[in-house]
Symmetry: C2
Subunit: 570 residues, 2 copies
């Protein structure tokens, strides 16, 4: 008798559900729902008054998440013809930190009529960057107080994380903060909506809210030093009770059963984060194997049996990826985004025409041309900082650099230089892990770039000197969520006893692996040395020109807004 599990992956623009066989991980059906209100970065929805949002804001509508349940799960049940009683569990993963203020029963504040027009009542999406002043103070106060947890996060807390966003609500909209009974990760909130019970996960707490198994959250003293009314934020708005990944959060409520067509009581797993849940779904349950989730940005996930201080990581969390291991996360804030930017803004008509004439996507066409180049033939070198540097420099004030252009430089050379730059950035991350007690034996990649571009993967293998394997699933995070659902259901229900069991049974690799070609690796060593020299010069205080330019830019834009433009008069 076959048993099935459902994984729901909540992304930035849409949510996707898949239905998989717990015996072999085979996907029987998949469905996507694009969020009706998408990413709100200009205005609130019309029915909320449509107020304009300041720069750097990025909100979402929590009803869009529930709509994912209502549309995709019925659709995959229908498409797969699987009976609801054969579905043993549901698991979800989410972007993080994506958080919202809710009432005690879980009602989003933005759905409370008197708060609907209040921007702070809505979901703050992971890429809401307007809490930078709060993040700056979080870091400054932590440094001043020598808070021990700062080292676990590369000595810098991001404006994207939980307490920066929470503090922004308190400071900019105290009435919203006051009215919010709970501040919660959207990941935990969507699980709550399925079960009717608030059960928070250790993963987002550890990676986004400075929690650790050993030390818990930062002290109330510390939070009080940020703002007197913030001292009790954990106890008054959050929870110190946290649940391990793979635990059963509860059974499906009658209401959620009605939304989805599943049976009431179906096991629901504790929430997970998209990058973290991908690790066992990419077959990795052992220490010292890296999983790279490669898309517009890249996350680098690796586990170790012990805690090491690795400078410039996003975070290291005990049990943060798999129970019983320390999970390390690093990242590159733009990878595919570099190539997307280039194609949108810097590729001339002749190339678009040639790709169209051949019926090729422009990326495929450029990669084909770039693949014909020998290593170093372009004479170009880039720093992959078009969106700052997340690891190991942890500095959003850095910006992109392209060096070596001549009058003979052609687009495919720049495209390849950008690919190589992101590979060099990954090598810096790997070498930083390895130099700090976390050796990396090999790498499993998943995500769009890994699946679609042999050239990119071979360059990564050649640059890093590591073997790259590719996850067989084209929806690795959703598969990971389904695996966690199978674990939450448990072996007796036909699921799995542990995530390791689920991984061995349900996760697969593709047959193709990318092995480093020794002479290419040697050729890239020369370029990598130059990359590191530029990386350290511009990234480690040799020359602060990127910061100076960003400062000038900010003042120029502010002056323009204020009507005192310094535009050149001709």
């Amino acid at each position: 008798m076959n048993r099935y599990a459902i994984g729901v992956d909540f992304g930035t623009e849409s949510g996707r559900a898949i239905l998989v066989d717990v015996a072999d991980g085979r996907t029987l059906a998949s469905a996507v729902h694009a969020y009706g209100n998408g990413v709100m970065d200009r205005t609130l929805p019309a029915d909320a008054g449509g107020a304009a949002l300041p720069p750097e804001w990025a909100l979402q509508d929590p009803d869009d998440y529930l709509q994912v349940y209502r549309t995709t799960i019925p659709e995959i049940l229908r498409a797969s013809a699987v009976a609801p009683h054969d579905v043993i569990g549901v698991g979800i993963d989410f972007t993080a930190c994506t958080m919202l203020p809710v009432t005690a029963d879980g009602t989003p504040l933005c759905n409370v009529p008197e708060f609907r027009g209040e921007r702070h009542a809505w979901v703050k999406l992971w890429k809401h960057h307007a809490a930078q002043p709060q993040a700056d103070r979080i870091n400054q106060v932590a440094r001043d107080r020598a808070e021990p947890w700062l080292a676990r996060y590369g000595e810098r807390i991001s404006s994207e994380w939980f307490f920066a966003k929470a503090l922004q609500i308190l400071e900019e909209a105290p009435h919203v903060y006051q009215r919010a009974d709970r501040l919660i990760e959207a990941a935990d909130w969507v699980v709550w909506r399925l079960t009717g019970e608030e059960r928070r996960n250790v993963c987002t707490a550890g990676y986004k809210a400075m929690w650790s198994r050993a030390a818990g959250f930062p002290s109330n003293d510390y939070f009080g030093a940020l703002h007197p009314d913030f001292a009790d934020v954990v106890d008054s708005k959050m929870s110190r009770e946290l649940h391990d990944l793979g635990e059963r959060a509860g059974g499906l409520s009658d209401e959620a059963a009605a939304w989805t067509g599943l049976l009431p009581g179906t096991a629901v797993a504790i929430a997970n984060v998209d990058a973290h849940v991908a690790v066992p779904a990419a077959t990795v349950v052992e220490p010292h194997r890296m999983v790279m989730i490669m898309g517009t940005s890249t996350c680098h996930m690796v586990m170790a049996p012990d805690e090491q201080t690795v400078p410039g990581m996003c975070g290291s969390v005990e049990d943060g990826i798999l129970p019983g291991r320390f999970g390390y996360e690093a990242g590159q804030s733009a990878v595919g985004d570099h190539f997307g930017w280039f194609v949108d803004h810097a590729v001339p008509p002749a190339y678009h025409d040639a790709a169209a004439a051949r019926g090729q996507d422009i990326h495929v066409y450029l990669q084909e041309l770039a693949g014909d180049l020998a290593i170093g033939e372009s004479g170009l070198l880039a720093l992959d900082w078009w969106n700052g540097n997340r690891s190991v420099l942890v500095d959003t004030g850095l910006s992109g650099l392209l060096l070596g252009a001549t009058l003979a430089t052609v687009p495919e050379e720049i495209y390849r230089a950008l690919v190589e730059a992101t590979a060099f950035g990954t090598r810096v991350i790997i070498e930083t892990f390895e130099a700090n007690g976390v050796p990396i034996h090999d790498i499993v990649a998943c995500g769009g770039l890994a699946e679609k571009s042999p050239l990119i993967m071979q360059i990564y293998a050649d640059v890093t000197g590591k073997t790259f394997r590719i996850s067989a699933s084209d929806q690795t995070p959703a598969l990971g969520s389904a695996m966690h659902a199978a674990v939450a259901a448990g072996a007796r229900a036909g699921g799995h006893a542990t995530i390791e069991d689920a991984s061995r049974t349900m996760a697969r690799l593709r047959d193709t692996a990318y092995e480093p070609i020794p002479e290419n690796h040697v050729a890239y060593d020369t370029l990598y040395r130059e990359y590191v020299r530029l990386h350290d010069y511009f990234g480690r205080s040799g020359n602060d020109v990127m910061k100076v330019l960003k400062g000038v830019r900010a003042r120029a834009r502010a002056g323009r807004t204020a009507g005192t433009s310094a535009a050149v008069g001709v």
Copy 2:
């Protein structure tokens, strides 16, 4: 009774003649002839066997120059309806160093049948860059011997110059060198073709052949140290008799009169160089006023009453621009070429479409968008080294750099950053002059960029803090040649006694001047400081990454040619 002079400007792709009134400089007619064989950088002409040329070669066909005389002068006479006896003189200017081997009677060796298929028998155009090994040795031997003349040329002789090209002929084709009775600048050769007499000019000798009024040419000992058979190059292949600019080279020969429709005996002026002849035609006859000839590249010309050692100039030559002054030349090897490269290789279809829809040239469209940006608003900074750096670093091994890009960077921002980079490069040149005893009071610009782009000129004024005036003529070099023709004819023939007189009478400025806007100059100071920091770091041995990359590129290409490509195998 009106008197007229003809100026012929021999450019890279074509030659242009204008007929002007010597009383006021008014142009009555203008005609262009494109060289039939153009720039030969791939093969010799079919009637010479069509042999392939190696990389970095650039040749021309001397018959194309004579064809300019035969077509353009009859055409301007016809168009202006000026009678030949009212034309008092002809002057020419040429690119330099553009040189050829000829027999004793001036016949180009490439027109001697047994040499026609020999590539070294043709004209080596200024941008023939295949004599780099010879230039390297010229420099090394000069440094080893502490040759005093090296300081006049920024401590570095270019592969474009006379003796590098001559030595290449000797070393690679000794039979051609042997057979050549004379090695001569094309400038002097086309004058010889008009008059029947070999009369060489001081300008190309000074700027391109290491000659000076005080010291003459380098010693035979020095030339002998380069190659034993090169010791007597000056005496056996050239001439120590040199003539000042504005002198009469001779009268038009019967043969040349027949080509042109002018009268035999019409005064012909000593040859000049395009950039140098532009100075008095841009109204500048005083010291300390810079003339910038702005096109694909830019030349910076300035005179001083005395000799100063200004590091990194192209050269300083007594009487090299105007008699009685020291003339200094500096340059930027790519200016308009940057913008042309960008438009050809890095502007997406939407911009081309928008420009076309508005009936605008893409440069005009981009400049319009770029003009709406405040200073520093792009956050970008570039080094204008897409074609190396001619002054003040004198280093073709440098390459382009763009810094500050983000995912929000748009094409007009990069375009403006490239314009600004070239303006910063000019400011470095100006400041180097001023720091070394050659103050610059103001600037007169001529050439395509100066005439067509108010935005670019205002940025140059704002960046440098100098007033930019614009030459009224849209053919400033040709006007300068006509002015020298009027001087060669002399006052008694209705011309002018001196080039200063000719300049005051015949040269004009436009009414528009570009004044630096004080607050813009201050705003650019910040960006310029950062430019200089990058300029010195990459240009003055802080980081040799550009050289390393060019070395890697050269090896990658050589490997590819040799069939041992290191291309990535996928």
